[in-house]
Amino acid sequence: MTAIAPTSITAPGGRQPANADLAARLVNASKIYGSGDSEVRALDDVTVGFRSGQFTAIMGPSGSGKSTLMQNAAGLDQLTSGSAYIGDTDLSTLSDRDLTLMRRAHIGFIFQSFNLIPTLSAEENITLPLALDKRRPNPETFDRVIDVLGIRERLDHRPNELSGGQQQRVAVARALVAEPSIVFGDEPTGNLDSRTGAEILEFMQRAVQEIGQTIVMVTHDPGAAAYADRVVFVNDGQIVDEMLEPTRDRVFDRMKAFGR
């Protein structure tokens, strides 16, 4: 895959980015917790877009607002002001039900702590988002995803019969099998050892490269960020920098700069 041109971002005054090819975007997004002296601006007038078929990592120090950014882009939380779009849909205009249906149909999630349902088998966990919609998975997609992830042998197992890495592969499969337009990951390798984490990241990378999946991942690990096509750096609720074709060392150096 060739290098992807950076989407225009962080323009002062919040110039709206072109929405062509953007799977998700935030426009003039602010998220404020508390009020008065205890007011915290977790997001401060952020405008950012995530291009289809691109693997984006969001990085920043603790408390920078990177998780808030992702949660609001994914429609898990409500912005204080500004808009979040999935495709051309303004999430703030949706009812709770429509927002849920939007997540079900168009968004996949990979959580840090796997978050599988312990009472369901691996296969049932994978098809859960579709089952909630009374749909069945596209057999081709299903087969491809589980074969790439190498979990075909484990489909009948319950999560507690799987290792952490296997559980996270099931979680990745769950995020991918409904063929969402975008997948959000919240520190997806945070609970895994580095080798298993690397495997998961490779799967995510392959999903982007081979089937053109859009992925946005929050991470604090420069090594994880190096798998992405693009890294967005967040600090104090604002996007302060971005990096294309990142490497572990460059990301590491950039992160160190926040310390100063």
Binding site: N115, P118, T119, D186
Partner: protein, 870 residues
């Protein structure tokens, strides 16, 4: 355990205050969970306290009052004891039937040395009527008339007005006067065995500190006229004041009309006898009430236990962390027990106070369903409140103790582990024991049914019940799996994913689910048991009577008290007989007598006419030609005799007032009249000749069926008062009405346990939701709608409630079948399972779970998907 907590608190004061802060902070943080637990405790304690107040009201103060009222009596002369009475039909509901003291015997005592005063007491039927002619109901067991006795020997003291003089004056007890809203100087109508009297109230009297004798509502007449007015043929007793000893008095008074020596007892023994009678009678009622309080308490205790088990499990890491940073086992134990104590104290205190409100609610409820044994105002004592509070607190602490011990045994290392869900269904051993107990129960039950023996039957029911408790978790797993399997067979798994999640969740922690469902199982099992019992009794009674009744109308006494009393004025049958269109009439009059030392109810009918109104099924002899001195008896009685009797043989009957009568068997009948089983039936003229005239118990009327005739009879009945008119059909049904009243009472009592069980389901569901906040957040994130979340939680609770009610229903029906087959086989009880009612009970049980889950489901559906990230 409380002492342990206290000593820990004092021994390590500085650190304990830290632990206390942890505890109180934990309580506050988990207030929603503890609110429901507190509610369960509160409901149990309120109900228990109410029951304690009721039992005190029924029996508590009676003994003090009896002692006070009879304090001035030194000796009592009564008739000879003749034998046990039938259906507590003796004077004042006593179990012993005695003869009478001849009228005037007290005069023989006035000259005896050491006797200062001796007064004969005559009693007879007398009951005040309200302005509509309806007999007053003050919730006592009998209504009597008596001569007024002044001074030390009297049981009552005037609180207003004067003693009665002449035949047209009475003194009423305060409770009767209150009930009828009567004051001194008011006119009142009194129903007696000789008819109704129009009299004036000249005084109001109190029995000791309460407004009425605990057994009887007494109407007092002038001593000079009482024997006449009450048609008394003897004295019920003579009360003696003085220092004379019993032997001297016994020698002076002579014998009863039957020639037996009279009984002389000391005042103290006589008083104790009265107290024993009251206690033995009320102990059944109080035991029954306390049984239901116990059921509610067990249901409540299950929930407290469950809450603490879950709370400890959920806080494993937190508690382990406390252990890691240096909290001792005792401190952890103490912190859980302090939580329990805080909940126990608060909920029990509010519960005890709420119990007072509950009592008034229950009394109105009892009145609404036609139970009058609790008429009068409740006696609220501090001991009832304290006992309710104490039991609630102790039950809370006791049920929290095992979970607290478990909390204390959490290893510090657990702080480093992910909290482990106790998903173990139950060990094979546990399930094995459960199956063994169940099989043992079924085996014993079959033995009991086949052999008609209650010992194996009861043991079988007990064994199966323990089996259900032990096997609860196993049942939960099997139940969830089979429901899931059954649904999976019919519907595509993907289309029922929400239901499937719910079913899996219900069996996620089988022990927890089982103990939650148990409270409901208990309530539903008892409801089912009593429903089958009531239906069986009802079916048995109504079918017999319905078959034998030949008249088209029945006039019945207003027996509002617990013991049926004849209240139909003696001349009503003559009035009805004179109405145009009445083709046949026969009236039943009853009295008590003894044969072979056993009490019986003896009745009389117009034997020439009775066959046209009630088919007694004559198998030998002739009822129509029953002569003076002849009696008709039922075959069921003859079957109980060792030496068989036949038509022409004689039966010796002893009447307490009239003495021994040799009755010749003139007819043998197969059917019994309601309230007169087995039958001992004289012709009316014969019995009137023996015991004198009385009130009618029942009048059977056959008419030409015209509406005018019915209307005329209706008018006559309402004008006479003391009677109710039924059509034949309604009458047969009404015989089962006491069963309906009883069933309603039982339902009301068990409803409390069911409500507590439902609170328990809500509680478990709330805790399950709290435990799975992140998981629910994830489900929301991946696309479960709020409605789907609500449906999932409701389904989950429904799994618990359906399981609880089905197991309860099955067990209740089986237990009732076994019990009544074993016990009632001889009595010809038809076991009847009312399918529709049972279906309603099952449905209500199942729906209760959905209702219980409404709030937790709503709460869960409001959880933001962001929770998945935390």
């Amino acid at each position: 355990m409380t002492t342990a907590t206290t000593s820990t608190a004092s021994a390590t004061a500085p650190r304990t205050s830290g632990m206390t802060r942890v505890t109180t902070a934990g309580l506050w943080a988990n207030r929603s969970r503890f609110t429901l637990t507190g509610l369960a405790v509160l409901l149990s304690v309120a109900f228990l306290t109410a029951m304690l107040i009721l039992t005190t009201t029924i029996s508590g103060t009676a003994s003090d009052d009896i002692r006070e009222a009879n304090a001035g009596i030194d000796l009592v002369v009564t008739g000879a004891e003749l034998g046990e009475s039938a259906d507590s039909g003796g004077p004042r509901g006593a179990d012993i039937l005695s003869s009478v003291v001849p009228l005037g015997t007290e005069a023989s005592l006035t000259a005896v040395d050491g006797v200062d005063d001796a007064v004969g007491i005559v009693t007879g039927y007398a009951r005040a009527l309200d302005t509509d002619g309806i007999p007053v109901d003050t919730g006592v067991i009998t209504y009597t008339g008596q001569n007024w006795v002044d001074g030390e020997l009297g049981t009552h003291t005037l609180v207003d007005g004067t003693a009665p003089t002449g035949a047209d004056q009475v003194v009423l007890e305060a409770r009767t006067a209150d009930e009828l809203d009567l004051a001194v100087g008011d006119p009142v109508e009194i129903l007696t065995s000789t008819g109704t009297l129009d009299v004036e109230v000249t005084g109001i009297a109190d029995y000791a500190s309460s407004g009425s004798d605990p057994d009887a509502a007494i109407v007092f007449f002038d001593d000079a006229v009482a024997a006449d007015v009450l048609a008394a043929t003897g004295l019920e007793r003579i009360v003696v004041d003085g220092t004379a000893d019993a032997a001297t008095v016994a020698a002076a008074v002579g014998t009863d009309p039957l020639g037996n020596p009279l009984t002389v007892t000391t005042g103290a023994d006589y008083t104790q006898g009265l107290i024993d009678d009251v206690e033995s009678r009320t102990s059944f009622q109080t035991t029954f009430l306390l049984f239901f309080a116990g059921v509610a308490l067990v249901a409540g205790t299950t929930i407290i236990y469950n809450t603490f088990v879950i709370a400890v499990a959920q806080r494993t890491r937190e508690l382990a962390l406390l252990r890691t940073i240096g909290a001792s086992k005792r401190q952890v134990l103490g912190s859980v027990m302090i939580e329990a104590a805080v909940i126990g104290v608060l909920a029990s205190a509010v519960g005890a106070a709420f119990g007072v409100v509950t009592v008034f609610g229950l009394i109105s409820l009892f009145e609404a369903i036609g139970l009058s044994f609790l008429a009068g105002s409740p006696v609220i004592t501090s001991s009832s409140l304290i006992a309710g509070f104490a039991v609630g607190l102790v039950a809370t602490l006791a049920s929290a103790y095992a979970p607290a011990r478990k909390a204390a045994s959490i290893a510090p290392i657990a702080a480093l582990r992910d909290s482990v869900n106790d998903a173990s269904a139950a060990s094979i051993v546990r399930n094995g024991i459960a199956v063994a107990l169940l099989l043992c129960g079924i085996g014993l039950g079959i033995w009991g049914v086949v052999a008609g023996s209650w010992i194996p039957a009861t043991a079988g029911i007990g064994s199966a019940f323990v089996g259900i408790i032990v096997g609860g978790p196993g049942v939960t797993s099997i139940f969830s799996r089979s429901v899931d399997g059954a649904i999976g067979r019919f519907r595509d798994a993907d289309s029922t994913i929400v239901g499937r999640l719910a079913r899996m969740n219900a069996s996620r922690n089988p022990k927890r689910s089982a103990s939650t469902a148990f409270a409901l199982t208990l309530g539903v099992a008892l409801i089912s048991f009593f429903t089958v019992m009531a239906a069986s009794l009802g079916a048995s009674t109504s079918s017999d009577v319905g078959d034998a009744l030949a008249s088209d109308l029945v006039v019945e006494s207003l027996s509002t008290g617990p013991i049926g009393e004849a209240t139909i004025p003696g001349d009503l049958d003559t009035t009805i007989a004179g109405i145009d269109g009445v083709t046949s009439i026969s009236s039943l009059r009853v009295t008590t007598a003894l044969a072979d030392g056993a009490g019986l109810v003896v009745g009389s009918v117009d034997t020439d006419a009775v066959t046209t109104t009630y088919d007694l099924g004559v198998t030998d002899g002739s009822l129509a030609g029953l002569a003076d001195g002849q009696i008709a008896v039922s075959q069921t009685y003859l079957d109980t005799l060792e030496t068989p009797l036949a038509v022409g043989d004689t039966i010796e009957l002893t009447f307490p007032t009239a003495g021994i009568v040799d009755a010749e068997i003139g007819a043998i009948v197969a059917n019994d009249l309601p309230g007169l089983a087995p039958s001992f039936i004289f012709d009316t003229t014969t019995l009137d000749g023996i015991v004198g005239p009385g009130l009618d118990d029942t009048i059977y009327v056959t008419t030409n069926g015209s509406e005018a005739t019915f209307a005329a009879i209706e008018d006559a009945v309402s004008a006479a008062g003391g009677a109710t008119l039924f059509t034949a059909e309604a009458y047969a049904d009404s015989l089962g009405s006491f069963i309906d009243t009883f069933t309603n009472f039982v339902y009301a009592m068990l409803a409390v346990a069911v409500v507590i069980a439902v609170v328990g389901i809500a509680n478990t569901t709330v805790m399950a939701v709290n435990e799975r906040v992140r998981e629910i957040g994830m489900l929301r994130a991946v696309g479960m709608t709020s409605a789907q979340i609500r449906s999932m939680i409701r389904n989950e609770a429904a799994m618990l409630s359906v399981q609880g009610s089905l197991v309860g229903l099955a067990f209740g029906i089986a237990a009732a079948y076994v019990a009544f087959s074993a016990l009632g086989g001889d009595e010809g009880i038809i076991i009847s399972v009312p399918v529709v009612t049972m279906a309603w009970i099952a449905l209500a049980g199942a729906v209760s779970g959905v209702l219980a889950a409404a709030w937790p489901a709503w709460k869960a559906s409001r959880l933001p998907p962001l929770e998945a990230m935390s």
